[in-house]
């Protein structure tokens, strides 16, 4: 009877399909090396730079092979992969992720491995080591860092009769007035300075006036007088130049990495930008006349002179990684002067290491590389707060920026509302942390 064989045949077919498909997707490593998977957030030139470092490492020894993969939305995907028990061995995250990852116990501490390898805080510019630590424990090591400065168009400066960059915020405001041009309809055709260009740090203007976003322990302080002052200052721009005029002008800007970039196409004369900007300029608008200087400080707060935002890409080993030791071997290679300078040169950033070689400076394409390296060593340096609710908090602050800048709402009221929303979130986090302490 044929019918008798149908069922077993179907079952066999299904099982066979499972086995074959599993075989097909399983990568075969018969090179005798241990394979370390490394997820990285970057694409483009930054990814190419990482790829060169990985290739160099793979060539340098014959025990470990690093498999590099570019992953979008890395911060969420790494966390989900960690939850599922199949994380990569190394993940290249953003510095501010560390608090949340610590809170979710998604990364392993690196203190012991660092001690064994002789890696200490002294090897680095302090702020970058500190970004990697949370509550006294080290959970990451630096990849490439970034610091920010005022970038200004020297051709437009010359046209307006300026010979040097503004020292203080008040001077910058005056420069901006002179550098802003309107057409006969009153539409803006050139802006002196715009807070929304590039708009990546809309949450952080408080830092310029010495504001802090929390007290480092249990209190949200986004509506402190300094923060309110900062948001009032940026609202003044919106009032002075016209919200809808600015918004319409901004909507005509091209993509960041293109010759239509607002700064490169000379639509905006001054922007807050990071050390990578020089590279994009030489790529897309090599004839642009520009310079960089520390961002201005408020006249009544000279202690904030030279303040910069420092941020960092970090390398972590997720909890549950299959080859943590080998992963650290690779991270260690990146921390060596050779590996780090290769990486930072490739991404045209400064090095997070305390000392950079003369060749590094000589080869570096950014003419202001020493400025970007030195500013983060300044005591006034700031970095995004290491607070587990940061993704939520920063989203609130970005929205506060919109409400204050676009809707012209009262900064004090808006920021106070952000505080009343975020304080309970922080309280909940602290309560849960206390609850879990005993586990």
């Amino acid at each position: 009877m044929v019918g008798r064989f149908v069922m077993p045949a179907v079952v066999l077919l299904v099982l066979g399909a499972f086995v074959v498909s599993e075989r097909v997707v399983q990568e075969q490593h018969d090179d005798g090396k241990i394979h370390v998977t490394y997820w990285e957030k970057w694409t483009g030139i930054e990814f190419d730079a990482i790829k060169r470092v990985v290739d160099e490492y793979n060539r340098s020894q014959d025990k470990i092979h690093v498999d590099l993969l570019s992953v979008s939305g890395i911060h969420n995907k790494t966390l989900m992969a960690t939850a599922a028990g199949v994380p990569p061995d190394v993940a290249g995250l953003f510095g501010p992720n560390i608090a949340q990852y610590f809170h979710d116990r998604a990364v392993i501490p690196l203190d012991e491995m660092c001690a064994e390898a002789g890696i200490t805080r002294d090897d680095y510019i302090p702020i970058y080591w500190d970004i990697c630590t949370f509550e006294g424990t080290l959970y990451a090591l630096p990849a490439t860092p970034a610091s920010t400065a005022l970038h200004y168009n020297t051709r437009l400066y010359k046209e307006a009769g300026f010979t040097k960059p503004p020292e203080t915020i008040e001077e910058m405001d005056a420069y901006a007035v002179k550098l802003t041009k309107k057409d006969s309809n009153g539409d803006i055709v050139q802006a002196g300075f715009m807070h929304q260009e590039p708009g990546w740090w809309n949450w952080g203007w408080g830092f310029v006036f010495g504001g802090e976003l929390w007290d480092g322990e249990s209190k949200i302080t986004c509506d402190s007088p300094d923060n309110v002052r900062a948001f009032t200052w940026l609202q003044d721009y919106s009032r002075k130049y016209g919200t809808s005029k600015l918004q319409n002008f901004k909507s005509g800007f091209g993509a960041f990495a293109s010759p239509q970039n607002a700064f490169m196409s000379e639509k905006v004369a001054m922007v807050l930008q990071g050390g990578w900007m020089g590279n994009f300029i030489s790529q897309f608008k090599p004839d642009l006349q520009w310079a960089a200087a520390p961002f201005p400080y408020p006249k009544d707060k000279p202690e904030l002179k030279g303040r910069t935002f420092a941020d960092l890409d970090i390398l972590v080993i997720p909890r549950g990684a299959k080859h943590p030791k080998e992963a650290f071997e690779f991270i260690k290679f990146v921390q060596s002067q050779k590996g780090m300078e290769m990486l930072c040169l490739g991404q045209t950033k400064h090095s997070p290491l305390a000392k950079s070689s003369p060749e590094f400076y000589a080869k570096h394409p950014n003419p202001y590389i020493r400025l970007f390296t030195d500013m983060p060593k300044n005591d006034s340096v700031v970095s995004p707060p290491k607070i587990a609710i940061w993704p939520e908090y920063s989203s609130e602050l970005r929205n506060a920026f919109d409400e204050i800048f676009i809707e012209l709402k009262d900064p004090q009221t808006v920021l106070a509302r952000v505080r009343t929303r975020m304080q309970p979130a922080l309280d909940r986090y602290l309560r849960e942390k206390a609850l879990r302490q005993g586990e």
Partner: protein
Amino acid sequence: MTFRKTEARNGYLFAMPWFIGFGLFLAYPIIASVYFSFTEYSVLKPPIWVGTENYETLFADEVFWKTLGNTLFFAALYVPLATLLAFGLALLLNSKVRFMAVYRTVFFMPSLVPVVSLVILWMWLFNGEHGLINNALGWVGITGPGWLTDTAWSKPAIVFMSLWGVGNAMVIYLAGLQEVPQQLYEAADLDGATPWQKTKSVTIPLVSPVILFNVVMGIIGSLQIFTQPYVMSEDGSPSRSIYFYSMYLFDNAFKYHKMGYASAMAWIMFLVIFLLTLVALKFAEKRVHYEGG
């Protein structure tokens, strides 16, 4: 084993892949999300039972209300407009003129464009400074708004953009229209009915079940709007004017790792959709005409 039993066993065995898939990937997560909605859960650590706290926090959460309001606003604007547009197009495309197949294809095509590329295209059209829409408005002397930068215009802009995708509903209407028996129109013609009277008294009653189906699907779809606004602005900027319910839910689940809170949000959305669907069905009870029933 009797024949019936063998048949039943084989039947279940063949359906087993579906049962397993449904159980693992649908039934279990749905049931688990009920439990998680009463816990604080970040996925990486075991959940902590917090009772109804998530729901209480939600009702006091202004962003929750803001996103719910935005979403209902979108649905209230989109569903009627999409219904009118899709039905109107279907009526036009149901007439007997040359090259009808070409017209039908042309009107259906936009719904085949991948959403992300569609959104990027529309962002250029809506651009306040160089956009084609404002340029066209300029020809008739209207200064167009900054569609995507003005809090008053960003939601209508998304409705406008979404109307591009009515092709699917239109095809369903078209199929419904073709089912209407020709003899009814002939009888109406004999009675001297005008085209409008024929549409009102013959066409609409006979395709009313299709309208109901499309409206219910429209409600469900528009309350879950996510991709279009998310591609435009992850934060729902400006000022969260295009921050919709599903985006806030997604952020809570995958950015803030508040899976319990997100589960509670999902259940509230389920209830909202369920209630609105009930209302639609109740409203339709006496107004929808089923042939032979």
